[in-house]
Symmetry: C2
Subunit: 230 residues, 2 copies
């Protein structure tokens, strides 16, 4: 056996022993999934002991996971009172949309991948995913596809840091949707607006695409604020 092969085997062995990062990360992933899937509703308290038992991890590990999720604004900590699922309000929605309305149309207008065909492909794929989900009445699938679309939009900018940050904003959006009980028809209108944006990008009409996207985000913000206040 060559040295290189031996090294590769050794590396593989190490990788197998540590299949998925640290326990704290896996714990954070598990809790985050419960939250964004809506099984843990906004405002619900997360007692340490109960979660330690349920997830079979120690308090130290759980607290490390909680800290990460708090940094992501998915959870919130009340001093000496515990950790809760975040309850984003109207101010949070406005804040998130100010950021989104700056970043998303900007990525379409000036993104390094906005003009190249591959960028358009990612948008198109998300649009088709949404249409397929709608056709089979899978409304959570529509919501997922909608998130993938916006992820693809930001991806046009070509910055992994921006992608990661937008993932946090989109996770927060899912919390908001759960708060207002958004289902079915809430995401449906955006299917065709997504398609319109994708079309314009594919045609190279980036300025028009950005304008359409901005108007669309403004509309979505208004509807969400109305739903929260109503």
């Amino acid at each position: 056996m060559t040295d290189a092969a031996a090294d590769a085997l050794a590396a593989l062995a190490r990788a197998r022993i540590v299949p998925t990062a640290t326990t704290a990360e896996r714990t954070a992933d598990a809790v985050r999934e419960q939250v964004v899937e809506g099984r843990l509703a906004p405002g619900v308290r997360l007692p340490e002991q109960a979660f330690c038992d349920a997830l079979s991890v120690s308090r130290n590990t759980l607290r490390e996971a909680f800290s990460q999720l708090i940094a992501e604004r998915i959870l919130a900590r009340a001093q000496h009172r515990g950790v809760f699922v975040a309850t984003p309000g109207v101010a949070d929605v406005r804040d998130v949309y100010r950021a989104r309305r700056l970043v998303e149309p900007g990525a379409v207008r000036h993104g390094v991948h906005a003009a190249d065909p591959l960028g358009g492909k990612a948008l198109r794929a998300a649009v088709e995913e949404g249409r397929a989900a709608a056709a089979s009445g899978d409304w959570t699938g529509v919501a997922d596809a909608n998130q993938h679309f916006h992820r693809a939009v930001v991806g046009l900018a070509g910055s992994t840091r921006l992608d990661a940050w937008m993932a946090l904003l989109l996770a927060e959006m899912r919390l908001i949707f759960h708060r207002i009980g958004a289902v079915e028809d809430f995401h449906a209108p955006y299917l065709e607006r997504n398609a319109a944006v994708a079309d314009l990008v594919e045609q190279g009409r980036l300025e028009d695409a950005a304008a359409e996207l901005d108007a669309y985000l403004a509309d979505a913000e208004a509807r969400i604020v109305a739903a929260l206040e109503g």
Copy 2:
């Protein structure tokens, strides 16, 4: 004493007892300061026991602080080998600048505070701070003022989430500056370019200001990449 006064006193007492968040947060702040001030250089290892002793905190608390700083990309963890000060490379610089060149000119162009006089004031203040520092030969002061300028630029967007994210990017930039040993003349040229952007914003010529800022960021990126590769 009125009930309201009693409540206020009680609240004050509680506030005094908990002056600054949790121990883990204060620990993270202390380590972060050491890093961004350059006293802990990129690549340096941070042994847990040594830092526990130095900061008088337990390993659990220190690890919680480390986790937060790792999420901020200020530190990096190597599995079973320890925690190190992050060492951002050329790819990181390009990634950060792709994000900055999207967000910063965007904030100038479309920020909700870009047109109002208060927004311009914040830019002007950072420019004056930089000039004062330069006049007294305080080059770290010039670097600080430069950061404040870009913080003010992003502030035009009016999103606290965007502000917080940009603070992370700017902290990473300080790491990069320390890597290339940037001092004195590195930040000096940007003093007048900051002033030019501030002038244009104050005159309401937002499009020109954004274009100037974009060109300026592109130039800075090129100089940093050259310094890293050279």
